[in-house]
């Protein structure tokens, strides 16, 4: 594609395209840079300057405070472990289910799809779910953060669509060769689905990382708290102006600088996954070469 003749119209298109995208990228990145800058600023500076990208008087005080207790580091480690294990479990379970559902010959496929769709729209709610998790003995276990969300119906349906787009001939060819279904899945379909696996692993990882309700409801032991519990604790300050009834006067809203620093620490690690996954999006797959 790169070596071919580039028309004048193409050049104009390219330029406009680049400018629009760069403009959008600037809009999205500036506020985050502000959050980053504010995390190094003093309280007074945050209160007195409306928007800045570089603190006048940089300080490491908030970060020093955050890392002065081992609670924060522990929760960071917990979150990383749960995210890694959880993503592996969840993407595996989802792929395993999506693959057979993409097979046009599967008996009961329509029924299962309808049941999945129904489960996507309707839910029993917080309390019955809590009782199920409790009944399984998962309270205060890290599995409670993983298993209840193991298969996201939305992800499942989209992954199935991707599998369906893979040429059916591949599967049939393998079948004729006498290959085991699982072998076909493992050897042929999965390697072709790398962009999909990368995408949905990212979706699952981010969902686990950002999950707040599961640890809130299922984890009582505060030494097992994940990062999001602290993030919420620090960033969602209770607003006296909208409190129905009076706010507890003992409540002191957390310092602004601390909010920003916690946001930075809690988002940077997960944000860094994406660039690593990008190589899977960079180039299209060579379906022809697989088939040979």
């Amino acid at each position: 594609m790169s070596s071919r003749f580039v028309s004048r119209q193409d050049k104009v298109f390219d330029l406009v395209n680049i400018l629009v995208l760069l403009g959008f990228a600037t809009l999205t990145i500036l506020p985050f840079l502000y959050v980053l800058a504010a995390s190094f600023a003093t309280e007074v500076e945050i209160a007195s300057r409306p928007f800045f990208l570089w603190p006048n008087d940089p300080t490491l005080e908030t970060y020093r405070y955050i890392f002065s207790t081992d609670t924060f580091i522990r929760s960071l480690l917990v979150t990383i472990c749960v995210t890694v294990v959880g993503t592996a479990v969840q993407i595996t379970m989802t792929l395993l289910m999506a693959y057979p559902l993409a097979d046009p010959n599967l008996v009961g496929r329509g029924l299962i799809m309808r049941l999945i769709l129904f489960a996507m729209l309707f839910s029993g709610g917080m309390i019955p779910m809590f009782l199920v998790v409790k009944g399984l003995g998962l309270l205060d276990s890290y599995w409670a953060l993983i298993l209840p969300l193991a298969i996201n119906p939305f992800n499942l349906i989209v992954i199935r669509t991707f599998f369906q787009q893979l040429p059916g001939e591949l599967r049939e060819a393998a079948e004729i060769d006498g290959a085991h279904e699982f072998t076909t899945f493992w050897r042929i379909m999965l390697p072709l689905s790398k962009p999909v696996i990368a995408t949905f692993s990212l979706f699952y990882a981010v969902a686990i990382w950002n999950d707040f309700m599961s640890p809130l409801l299922y984890i009582s032991d505060s030494s097992k708290w994940t990062l999001q519990m602290f993030v919420r604790q620090v960033t969602i300050s209770t607003d006296p102006s909208t409190t129905i009834g009076n706010l507890d006067p003992n409540y002191i809203p957390p310092a602004e600088g601390l909010k920003f620093a916690v946001i930075v620490i809690a988002t940077l690690p997960i944000m860094c996954i994406y660039p690593f996954l990008q190589k899977h999006f960079a180039k299209g797959v060579m379906i022809g070469s697989v088939k040979g």
Partner: protein, 508 residues
């Protein structure tokens, strides 16, 4: 981290697990055995949860003579956690309730919590010091929990001290004084550098009857506190003429441009900012904001911060009468669920522990920490000890303060002000709080909970909040405001009035 047992439970869930959800009841805490561990659930207001192996936790366990198992829940989602906990069979022995939430009121009246009305008197440290607060904290006269005492007088007007000096005005005594100061702060270049300034800083305020700046202004002008009592009947305070008059004078300040222009939308979380930046010079809020602002100025200028902030209490009406707006005087309860504490003996154990924690020594543990570790006593006040150990305990103190009630009166130590300006401010706060208390306008309906309000209260309050602000913004005229407020009555408010009066007459 992932134990083998849970791994098995998690992955090998067969069909047998299907029915599990149904079995909610059964085993656990429900037995008549003497309690050996005390389970508590409490909201966490500080940044990190205390370590159960921490020094303070251990010290408190030793003091009450019983191991404690405390579930700390982030404050912002405490209600959700309470809901699922009450639905399960693993209910703590002491549940902190943050206020008269529907869940608490309904569960209590359905018999879910011990009725302590006639029991508390047996425990000297759980007998309320102030019967008025105790009555207000009751649910239709019955006590379903030990309330957590808080300051009753917190209303303050915080002003830029240097600006006052610059425009040559005294601290305000009446609301008329405040109007004049707001004018001078806008027109007379109080900053002395020609910058644009204004007087009163008003944030967007989405609540009614929760000690907001508009509530303050209304009370100072003689509006009752949420409910107005006249001849033995209650009526909503905002349906009285004083309410409209107060807002007419507030509208005059806004129309004259003596407030921030974005009063309808300013994020209350950024309330301090215009004050610190030198854009606005007056905040009407709680006194603790004055201390906060002083410390912000101190951070910017450790030498000259002393003349930046001053604070007065409630203001008198234009004719010189003082109507002061109090808080409810408490913030939530410690309630004891009947499903986990089943026998009178168990109840006695739990109340015994709470009684101990309300003694002077107990209160100091919960509110100050461990003497010699994180604080020392100087002139009867606490002074923090700067050390790693000390700061750990201090951080835990801010969490443990949530399980203290001090309904028998505060016996802990107050902390020693950090500097002269802080000391002066604290002294003044204390003095005005004491004198304002004599003129406090209490809410006569505080103790009563109407079903109709429980059902629709938030939506009804919204009508008042919106009408008030639309009037101030000029979108409604006086007649429009009156008819919007009438809509409150028509959309279910009348039922609230009827039920409140029924309860009030039965209780009075």
């Amino acid at each position: 981290m992932f134990s083998r047992r849970t791994l098995l439970a998690g992955t090998a869930l067969g069909a047998g697990a299907l029915g599990l959800s149904a079995c909610g009841g059964g085993s656990g805490s429900g037995s008549g055995e003497p309690l050996t561990t005390l389970k508590i659930m409490a909201p966490l207001l500080s940044e990190t949860a205390p370590d159960p192996e921490g020094q303070l936790h251990k010290a408190i366990e030793e003091f009450v003579g019983m191991p404690l198992e405390i579930t700390w829940v982030p404050n912002s989602s405490y209600g959700d956690r309470v809901t699922v906990t009450m639905a399960s069979d693993n209910i703590p022995h002491i549940m902190v309730q943050t206020g008269k939430t529907a869940e608490f009121v309904q569960t209590a009246t359905a018999g879910g919590y011990w009725d302590l009305t006639d029991i508390l008197a047996e425990y000297p440290n759980l007998t309320p010091e102030n019967p008025d607060v105790a009555h207000g904290a009751s649910i239709n006269g019955k006590t379903y929990g030990v309330f957590r005492l808080r300051d009753a007088m917190r209303a303050s007007v915080i002003l830029r001290k240097d600006w006052l000096a610059k425009v040559g005005l005294d601290e305000p005594v009446t609301t008329t004084d405040l109007e004049e100061i707001a004018r001078a702060f806008t027109e007379e270049d109080p900053a002395g550098d020609g910058s644009t300034t204004y007087g009163l800083i008003l944030p967007s305020w989405g609540g009614y009857g929760n000690n907001g700046p508009y509530d303050l202004w209304e009370t100072w002008h003689g509006t009752a506190n949420v409910w107005k009592e006249e001849g033995g009947t209650l009526s909503p305070a905002f349906l009285a003429p004083e309410f409209i008059e107060a807002n007419i004078s507030m509208k005059a300040i806004i129309d004259a441009g003596h407030t921030n222009a974005d009063y309808a939308t300013m994020d209350a979380a950024t309330w301090n900012d215009p004050f610190v930046k030198g854009q606005g010079g007056i905040i009407a809020d709680v006194s603790s904001r004055g201390k906060q602002l002083l410390s912000l100025f101190k951070e910017a200028d450790p030498e000259g911060y002393g003349d930046k902030v001053t604070m007065v209490g409630n203001l008198k009406s234009p004719d010189g009468t003082l109507w002061a707006l109090p808080t409810p005087g408490y913030a939530g309860y410690l309630a004891i669920p009947k499903s986990s504490v089943q026998t009178e003996e168990q109840l006695a154990t739990v109340l015994g522990v709470m009684d101990k924690l309300s003694s002077e020594e107990g209160q100091r543990l919960l509110n100050n920490g461990i003497e010699g570790v994180n604080y020392e006593v100087e002139d009867g006040m606490s002074v923090p000890i700067e050390s790693e150990e000390g700061s750990l305990v201090s951080s835990d103190v801010s969490a443990f303060a949530q399980i203290g009630t001090q309904s028998n009166g505060y016996l802990g130590l107050s902390s020693k002000p950090a500097g002269e300006a802080e000391a002066a401010m604290e002294e003044k706060r204390q003095a005005t709080a004491d004198s304002d208390l004599d003129s406090a306008v209490f809410n006569p309906g505080a103790a009563y909970v109407s079903d109709a309000y429980t059902q629709n209260g938030a939506i009804l309050d919204q009508i008042v909040v919106d009408a008030r602000l639309k009037f101030l913004a000029g979108q409604l005229d006086e007649a429009g405001l009156t008819s919007e407020l009438q809509r409150w009555t028509d959309s279910g408010g009348q039922q609230v009035i009827d039920e409140m009066n029924e309860l009030y007459q039965a209780g009075a």
